[in-house]
């Protein structure tokens, strides 16, 4: 048996929704790290215990990377800020936008993307972090421009077959790829339109909002752009428009199906100025043929008077079959599907504005099994809120 958790980052803390593998009824846990803005969450299942990582930003005290090995009951928070720019860079950490565990064969490796746009890497399980110099010192940096969310590195895509290759995306800088483990990075935006630039197809400067990849086909990438929906079949060397049959090619969220390399989900938004659900209908769009066509998924979703949207990390899938698909909205609603998006249920309403969603499937542990001791640390403990029952819907 296994337990499924939806990890939910909000502008005011972390919440979890817990369910059995049936994924029909959800129990709310949290808030954890109350009051802090959580723009990034990750579940790292590579160690002996599942670990949750959170990029926690306090309006007053800054942003720091924290982790929990007991689903939020306690948090390891470092004494000293663990993500720091080199002094000579003149940069200051503002927000942690993305956390990505490394490959399975490098269990101590973690990456995170931050604002101002930079990539940090840890090779000791998150105890220490170093900025990736090849990107920090990139000659394009001075010409990257912040989007509405700031100049953020928000997407990290690894290549499961090639440890030296990785893609990242920056708003607004576009897609960059390394082939040498981060020492050098090349812009990979050919074919992606920059509607807001006089030159509509510059080498870099695009506002890519999210990328998706299926690990079985690492060289094929999908991108939801600030205007534009794209696929690359050559590891980002070139991109093709695949916005066929969507109500808007503006949007943020995009995620891949866990088992079908041709299936991708997006949630379109009406224009960068209106930013409401197109036609005021809440619709997830799915392609099952790698972008040749898209179908709306609406069963169980409200189809009138919807002014809500989903941000770039607000859409996620789990690893079960049929896949669970989950999204959280700016207005604090979480919708869940346990049948790959065919139907949806409102799992919880009334949360703070949702910034990111992740899903984790964890095998239930036998009751008699020994528990790994917690990491010792000179670290602060966060308060332990009591779980409460979410509505069954």
């Amino acid at each position: 048996m296994s337990t499924v958790r939806i990890l939910i980052g909000t502008t005011k803390g972390v919440f979890f929704l817990r369910s059995s593998a049936a994924r029909k009824a959800w129990q709310l846990e949290g808030p954890y790290l109350p009051g802090r803005a959580i723009y990034s969450l990750a579940h790292d299942g590579r160690g002996e215990r599942p670990r949750v990582w959170a990029g926690a930003a306090s309006m007053h005290w800054g942003a720091v990377m924290v982790s929990s090995d007991d689903w939020g009951q306690s948090w390891d928070e470092p004494q000293e800020a663990n993500l720091k720019f080199p002094a000579e860079s003149g940069l200051e950490l503002k927000q942690i936008w993305q956390i990505a565990p490394g490959r399975d064969d490098e269990p101590g490796t973690l990456y995170c993307g931050v604002e101002p746009a930079a990539l940090f890497r840890s090779t000791d399980g998150g105890k220490s972090w170093d900025v990736v110099r090849g990107l920090l010192d990139h000659p394009h940096r001075e010409r990257w421009q912040p989007g509405g969310g700031g100049l953020c590195l928000h997407t990290i895509v690894r290549d499961p077959a090639n440890a030296d290759r990785m893609w990242i995306a920056i708003s607004s800088g576009g897609v960059y790829r390394t082939e040498d483990g981060g020492r050098s990075w090349a812009a990979r935006n050919k074919g992606i339109r920059a509607e807001f630039m006089p030159d509509k197809y510059p080498e870099f400067g695009q506002c890519v909002h999210k990328m998706a990849q299926h690990p079985s086909r690492p060289g094929r990438l999908f991108a939801q752009n600030h205007w534009g929906l794209y696929r690359s079949d050559d590891a980002g060397d070139s991109w093709k428009d695949i916005a066929h049959g969507v109500p808007s090619d503006f949007g943020f969220a995009m995620t891949a199906h866990p088992h079908d390399a041709d299936t991708v989900y997006i949630i379109p938004i009406e224009s960068d100025t209106v930013r409401m659900a197109p036609e005021r209908k809440l619709r997830v769009y799915r392609t099952r043929n790698a972008g040749r066509s898209w179908e709306p998924l609406t069963r169980g979703l409200p189809q009138r008077n919807v002014y809500d949207i989903v941000l770039r990390d607000g859409l996620a899938t789990d690893s079960l079959d049929p896949a669970g698909v989950y999204f959280g909205t700016r207005n604090g609603k979480v919708y869940a599907s346990n049948d790959s998006g065919r139907s949806w249920r409102l799992a919880i309403d009334g949360l703070p504005s949702i910034t990111c969603v992740r899903a984790a499937v964890v095998a239930d542990r036998p009751a008699a099994r020994a528990v790994t001791p917690r990491r010792p640390a000179r670290r602060a403990k966060a308060p332990r809120p009591k779980p409460r029952q979410a509505a069954r819907r």
């Binding site: 502008t11 005011k12 306090s58 309006m59 007053h60 005290w61 800054g62 928070e77 470092p78 004494q79 000293e80 800020a81 720091k84 720019f85 002094a87 003149g90 940069l91 200051e92 950490l93 602060a380 403990k381």
Partner: protein, 97 residues
């Protein structure tokens, strides 16, 4: 010279739970920057939450020397007298949330 830092509740986990830190700081005359450097040695977790990695007071943190905000008295160059109380407080903020 002796300076006293008054630590707000959210930062006490980074100061071994203490609400005030009495520090002896060598030399003089002292500036607020000197005092914060001494705080950084005694409680680096507090320092990192008060100052950015560029060494500037975070925008939503107020540091008072006596009863006056350092923003109006010279920032980190504010002179510190022997026995001064330095109060760290979260600023009023968050109206957009």
């Amino acid at each position: 010279m002796r300076v006293v830092f008054l630590i707000p509740t959210p930062l006490r986990p980074f100061a071994e739970g203490r609400s005030r830190l009495d520090l002896e700081v060598a030399g003089g005359p002292l500036s607020l920057g000197d005092a914060l450097a001494a705080l950084g040695k005694a409680a680096p977790g507090v320092r990192d939450r008060v100052l950015t990695e560029r060494g500037e007071v975070r925008p939503h943190v107020n540091v008072f020397v006596g009863t006056e905000s350092c923003r109006w008295t010279g920032g980190l160059a504010t002179p510190i007298a022997d026995g001064a109380e330095i109060t760290i407080l979260p600023a009023i903020s968050g109206g957009a949330r």
